[in-house]
Amino acid sequence: MFVTNTKRITKSAIINLWRSRIVSMSSILVMSITLFVFGTLIFSNAALDSALTQIQEKVDINVYFTVSAPEEEILSLKKSLESLPEVGTVEYVSREESLEKFRERHGDDQLTLQALDELEDNPLGAVLNIQAKETSQYETIASFLNSESVLSSEGTNLIDKVNYYQNKIVIDKLSKIISSSQKIGFIATLILVIMSIIITFNTIRLTIYIAREEISIMRLVGASNEYVRGPFVVAGVVYGLISAGFTLLVFLPLTYYIGSFTQRLFGLNMFEHYLSNFWNISIIIIFSGVTLGIISSYLAVRKYLKV
């Protein structure tokens, strides 16, 4: 009986979809717009993430050592820094490399280079460039350096200066911007998702409202609630599948078109991102569409089943 009923319900759902295809098409269109919003959110999240990582990569703490600081002590400090959970990467720039870089930077400035040549010794100290995993963790790293900086082999100070305190204001501001843009993004996402769900739900409710007479007739003829509801729920699944397919298809040329633009702006090519995450995105979109279809139909029919 279950098999027969499932077969009959599916058949009836598909015949109904075709016979009232104008109504079906409007539902599919609205649902596609909702899924399009979902997809856009997925993409803009990826773009935001990529942009944030790019910015974060540019933030670092530079520790300038005194000229006399011995290399092995610097390297041992580097090792203990790397063992901190907050620290992402530590890059060591030796005194010679510092000089090289300085010369490169001032290649056009003959005066400075001449002055440098006058000096007997390399006036530049070694540098450690530290990158934290999160911008909010620079504070911890800086205070670690502060406590560590007292340490020196023969009582002399190893560290000339840590530029964190100069950069602190900028870093703080950036941390705030990043955390609040993530918060705003999340709230905007939530509002958009709720809005589009409500619109889809109401559209499906309207299509079922049109069929309310039919539902009461079916009940009077002796059909069970499940048998009446079945075709509407199956129609909801079909709406979800068609809308998801349509949305995924629309994203292909769209992301291709904006790909190079997003590459420049966020450092992420949308088209490549879409292709490499195609299955994940598809599953999210299809699952959202089908679930939305089932729940909307189920709740909307319930209202007219009271006869």
Partner: protein
Amino acid sequence: MIYFDKVTKCYENGDKVIDDVCFTIEPREFVSIVGHSGAGKTTLLKMLLAEEKPTEGSIYFGSSNVSELSKGKKNVFRRKIGTIFQDFRLLPHKTAYENVSFAMEAAGRSDEEIASDVPHVLELVDLGEKIWHFPHQLSGGEQQRLAIARAIVNQPDLIIADEPTGNLDPINTYEIVQILKKINELGTTVILTTHNKGVIDSIGKRVITMDKGKIVRDDKRGKFSL
């Protein structure tokens, strides 16, 4: 046997549409209920179909107390009753064939039974040529005959016809009444409500007359009198 036991129905605003009604209908009877609009005929039938609940009293159909049926049992109960309405109540997006087969599917009949019974019953009401027509492609009389086909296809114990000829011309009215009489002769109980004097007089069977929610006459071989 159908038994209305001191049934009263009030609507939420306090209007009493059925007032302490008591009567019995025996199996294979043909009962016509007459009365002005608003006399309570349709409410009576709705309660028998478990669409409405009586405020007081009970309704029995065979061994079941109709007014206490759970939601899940209502649909099983309704398969014992065939219904015909003034406004036909056909499924607009289904063909004549599908309208009839839907009632059989809902009752859980097999595909083989459906394939053999549906054309047969449509033939009986003279719609054999129009089984793939949609309701809007049929005339009023044809739509009502389709509704009758749907009502009788599950071989119900009872046919309820609520003003089935209200929207039809005299010739179609005559045809519908003849079909109902035929169904009754074959052993099905029929309850008919109508305004039409000619219909009542041509049937010549039991007539219950209602007025303002009460039964005012109950004649074994009644004539239309209001």
